[in-house]
Amino acid sequence: MAPPHVPASAGDLTPELLGTSEWSDQLVAAAGIPMYDIPFLTVGGGMGSFVTLDYLRIYGVPASQMRVVSNIDTPWQTYEFLTRCSQIPRSERIRSDSASRPDNIWGFPSYALQETWTDKTPAYLWQLLTEPLLNDYWTPRAGTVFQSLEREAKRIDYWDMLVKGQVRMVRRRAGGGYFTVVTPPEGSAPTKRVIFRSRFVHIAIGYPGLKFLPDLQEFRTKHGDYQHVVNAYEPHEQVYEFLKTRPGTVVIRGGGIVASRVLQRLFDDREKFRLQTQIVHIFRTFVTGSHGPHVWARRKGGDGWAYQGFNYPKSVWGGQLKAQMRKLEGAERAAKYKEMGGTNTPYCRRWQEQMRAGRSGGYYHPVQGTVDRVERGSDGRLVSYVRSSDGIVREPVADYIIDCTGLEADIAEHRIYDDLLRHGGAYRNPVGRLEVERHFEVKGTASGDGVLYASGSATLGGYFPGVDTFLGLQIAAQEIADDLARRGFVRRMGPFRSTSQWFKWAFNSPV
């Protein structure tokens, strides 16, 4: 990196900067904010940034040409936090395909081959061969994923590229490229802000934020109670601890993978500690069987759930759906998203057994309904007013309510996206998120010869649907790397380099 140009004055954003959509070098210099030049900058520092840097390092970009700005220390930190909260510790298996490896762009050898070798368990291969027909999908342990990521991060010099700080905004630069404004950790820099000047910027800041079901949000705000009404993505161990001390009732909201995980934890604890826990499970949409408009578009389901191996139909990552969606625009695209969408969870033999036992044992009560409101009963417990589509109103009383719906906040809730929508030229796609090109350039944000890319959940609704998944991040990274190759930033990787780089990966030698 070039040495910073340090001017004399305060080093914070000025009203003039805040109000100007496109900044000149002079304008930035006048504000006294130290400026660093770096050709490629990725913002976020989670899985999306990591996978993109991994691709570019393997394509041949030196670590000195790239930086990642992040407020976390490792790329998997946020992911691990969220999986742990939603009841997947390192020893448990995540819902992800064996060949979706964020630490290995080739997906070979798959996690299943790796775990077969390390665990000396050939049974994994049998499961892999017979999935999803005779067996559940084989999926990797969370721990396997994190360990492999650590190995790859070291191999590509990830931590040499990491700059700690909070990104405030990305603005276009007069003459091409972008300015990224960073607030460094307190005490680590002489000024309040520093700026990176780059030709290419990539934004992968993940989910803009959690959103609660409106009735639960209302309850939490009204009563200031964040202990008894919880979101599955926030730490909520107190629920399970309470249930170990006395019999209790839990209401679960939502019909997706997180609801399945939380249910499993409740069932497991019930069995392990001989508890008396009662579970009321409220599905807004109660799926009773196969559903879909057409014999060629019908998903399996039952007992409330819609069943699907992964969070999208498998062909979005490379097959028919991917090819179809790539050609669709506007309303047609939105309709296709709707057709394949809907909350779902895998059909897992163990979960099926637990739920069957729960229904026949009278401690698991799945119901259809929408909740009008939640109130505190006279004994201090939580009363949900649930209205079913057949007109029946139920009022289950619970000690805890766990929101497993996994609703996401609007992208504009995140200040970086908000700023991009206001000043950067970005606009929304048919499902309300950031509109990106097929190669993940954020539409409307081009600046001279510079390009702004985005990947991850904020780009859902684009020409490629599976954006917020491991493999989806890699597909985005490949599109971005190939686009950067078209623009002369790096050479496009062909079969020979790919093969030689694979051997380097296999022997854990530097790229």
């Binding site: 061969l129 139909p313 498998k314 062909s315 990552w317 097959g319 028919q320 090819a323 079969p495 790919s498």
Partner: protein
Amino acid sequence: MVPTLAGRIQTRLFLLATVGAVITLLIVPVLPGSSGALGDRYVNGFLVLAAVAVLGIAWELVYHFLMQFRWEKDWPTLFGLLTLVPEGLLLYFLLRSGAVDFIDPVPSAAFWTHFIIVWVCVWLVANGPMRVPFIRWRFRGGRVL
């Protein structure tokens, strides 16, 4: 694998022309029950391989149609292996019946050994190693071009 129709056909042709050809070169001399000049046996071996490719295009249309009944539009790994049974049987009976008269009748043992080894090798390569040189292949539904 999650193929598109074009991807299925291209992958089949590409892998038969590469993996299939190499395996054929290696095993024709040692196939059980075959006799005659080595050159003729090679010609026959490659004609059988070509027949798998040509008939395969029709088979892929059938598989593509059947795949439409799957919500995920995927083609499980096991299907890719087990389809060797109908494909092998059809080709075997076609050869036996003399319907494909430019291929000499092949002894059963030689045919099945050749067919199964080529099939399993192609299937193994398609399920992993193929992605090493061709990093875009799996994201394009199996299209090589």
